[in-house]
């Protein structure tokens, strides 16, 4: 639904479900050549970010005269301006509210749907799954104009709720497919046992399935959060007032509003990117393992 269609059609397939036995590496440790590759790739990945950090620590004059990676006279002036004299903190807050709300709603809807389609045979199941999968092929740009009209007509234009609804619809297909794969990798025997003990379907879902699905839910949440946080098209179409603007759009407007003042702009970029990097560093391990477990079934 946006060009960030990224993970919508994920549900990666790989089999069999054999887990790696801890402590028994399958590979020999990396050789010197591998380290060259790792270092080169790391440099490629972080160079643009490092240059931004370097620029953000330079004064207005030094940005154009001091071409070094390490600022000769570092200053925090740009950060002070961004944090205390700009709308950037407000944009950050908006993004947290909208991305958080969208992810929460997405997980609820997708988990219910994933559970229904992973555990039950029923008429309309395959058709529904096909429909949901097909919508991941709709380009975001194709439905922006209709969504704008729809939002204006329903009064959801320029509201947090409007964005949350659209983002949720955008993320539900991917997350549903991811969670469905994850649920299928959990043996149904536990639920059968619960059922024999007379537990109702809802109780089985909440008390037995939910705890087991947590790693998958965590990984899917992060993937969806990143996608929503980084979206530009929907955020720029669905909102007009400045105080409801999301970070991605806010940054872009910041650019055109003040002309290109690289010191301030890079400081703003660093401020908005740091929360995401923190989230990523904290969740990195879980993302890979959560996706891995879900990857065992298509």
């Amino acid at each position: 639904m946006s060009e960030t269609t990224t993970a919508r059609v994920v549900a990666p397939v790989a089999r069999p479900a054999a887990r790696r036995v801890p402590g028994r590496g399958r590979h020999k440790p990396a050789g010197p050549l591998a380290y060259v590759g790792l270092v080169a790739a790391s440099a490629f990945a972080v160079l643009p970010l490092l240059w931004a950090v370097s620029t953000s620590l330079k004064s207005k004059g030094a940005v154009l005269s001091d071409g070094g990676w390490v600022p000769a006279a570092p200053t925090l002036q740009n950060y002070a301006t961004v944090l205390f004299d700009s709308q950037v903190p407000r944009y950050l807050l908006n993004s947290i509210v909208v991305a958080g709300g969208s992810v929460a709603l997405t997980i609820v809807l997708a988990l219910l749907g994933a559970y229904a389609t992973a555990r039950f045979q029923f008429r309309g199941r395959d058709a529904s799954l096909f429909l949901i999968l097909m919508t991941s092929m709709i380009p975001g740009i194709a439905i922006l104009v209709p969504l704008y009209f729809l939002a204006v007509r329903t009064g959801l234009y320029d509201t947090y709720l409007g964005m949350i609804v659209v983002y949720t619809a955008w993320q539900v297909p991917t997350v549903l497919w991811m969670l469905r794969g994850f649920l299928q990798s959990i043996p149904a025997s536990l639920e059968e046992a619960g059922r024999i003990d007379g537990a109702g379907d809802l109780r089985i879902m909440v008390q037995l399935v939910l705890p087991l699905a947590k790693p998958g839910i965590a990984a899917a949440s992060v993937v969806a959060f990143v996608a929503v946080w980084n979206d530009f098209l929907i955020a720029s179409t669905m909102v007009s007032s400045d105080h409801k603007r999301l970070v991605s759009v806010g940054l872009y407007n910041y650019l055109s509003q003040y002309g290109i003042e690289w010191g301030q702009l890079t400081a703003a970029v660093v401020v908005t990117v740091v929360p995401m990097i923190l989230l990523f560093v904290l969740m990195e391990k879980r993302i890979v393992s959560g996706l891995s477990a879900g990857a065992t079934k298509g």
Binding site: V13, A45, T117, G140, A295, G298
Partner: protein, 315 residues
């Protein structure tokens, strides 16, 4: 047994004593109730997706065959908008540029993702640090990536010495060919991390025994990767390829913020044109036609994906 059939799903069973072996009623109960409960669980997701995706694409289809004047929908013009794209050299040039962009990005990003996933899967000192650093561009938005790279590639103030590269001033974004190369490069920078994460996740599902067996048989590291690992992760790699293809075809934000389609339309892609016709020039009908053309491209690739998934399940 009849009692248990009429019990509401959430209520605890009244008494289990008089029941014969519980499996029979349990399965029966399940099949009876299953017609309504799963539908109810799935309904909200389907309804939302239908409202926010299916209805708008129908709306867009309708727009694409009408004359539009700003937000007013006028006369039916049939396929006129489509003809103005598919019947002109400029239209096909644009589709060609989109192809160059998609294929160029794909042949770089996919092998990079598989290779890096392989490297990051091996035990190495500082593996976590490498993982975090290498996968970091994943959390960067297209807008920010465009800004960062524009600043990095700046010929006058950038750190790469592009102002006097071999005595020449290289302004990447002012050169039609270099601009496309740079656009592909930035796109790869943005999109390889998620692909790497997915391949990495698939790699962790490859059983260790297979590798050990191959090693005992004396297979070289390359041979082991080609004959053991690659076939196991092939379905994931294929899905990732489709995912990236769709992402690249539909990409607007990066192109808009990095090159804006320039210089001299050298990076004017179908997706960007669809956006600009709708939001810059307010030719909603023509813009819709462009996005429907994109949609058709997506469906062709998407169907390949579904067929592959289906075929895979039969194995």
């Amino acid at each position: 047994m009849t009692m248990s059939l009429t019990t509401p799903p959430t209520a605890p069973p009244p008494s289990r004593a008089p029941r014969p072996p519980a499996t029979v009623p349990a399965t029966r109960r399940r099949s009876l109730r299953s017609s309504r409960l799963p539908l109810a669980l799935l309904a909200p997701a389907v309804a939302l997706v239908a409202l926010v995706s299916v209805f708008p694409i129908l709306f867009a289809l309708n727009l694409s065959v009408h004359e539009t004047r700003y937000t007013q929908v006028g006369d039916l013009v049939g396929l006129q908008h489509y003809l103005s794209v598919l019947g002109t050299a400029q239209g096909w040039a644009m589709i060609g540029r989109s192809m160059v962009y998609v294929v160029g990005s794909l042949v770089l990003a996919l092998p990079l993702a598989v290779g890096l996933a392989h490297l990051l899967d091996r035990p190495a000192r500082l593996r976590r640090v490498f993982r975090v650093l290498i996968l970091m561009p994943w959390v960067i938005s297209q807008t920010v990536a465009a800004l960062l790279w524009r600043w990095l590639l700046n010929p006058d103030y950038g750190p790469l010495g592009l102002g006097s590269l071999g005595g020449q001033r290289v302004d990447v974004l002012a050169d039609p060919v270099l601009a496309m190369v740079a656009l592909v490069l930035v796109n790869v920078w943005l999109s390889y991390p998620l692909a790497t994460i997915l391949v990495l996740a698939a790699l962790q599902g490859v059983p260790a025994e297979l590798h050990e067996a191959a090693e005992v048989d004396g297979a070289t590291a390359f041979r082991r990767f080609r004959s053991v690992t690659l076939p196991m992760i092939a379905p994931t790699v294929f899905v990732v390829a489709i995912m990236l293809t769709l992402l690249y075809f539909n990409m607007v934000t990066l192109v808009l913020t990095f090159t804006g389609g320039g210089p001299f339309s050298a990076t004017q892609l179908v997706s960007l044109e669809a956006y600009q016709q709708s939001f810059s020039y307010f030719n909603l009908g023509l813009g819709a036609a462009y996005s429907v053309i994109l949609f058709v491209f997506n469906v062709v690739f998407g169907l390949a994906y579904i067929r592959m998934l289906r075929g895979d399940r039969d194995v």
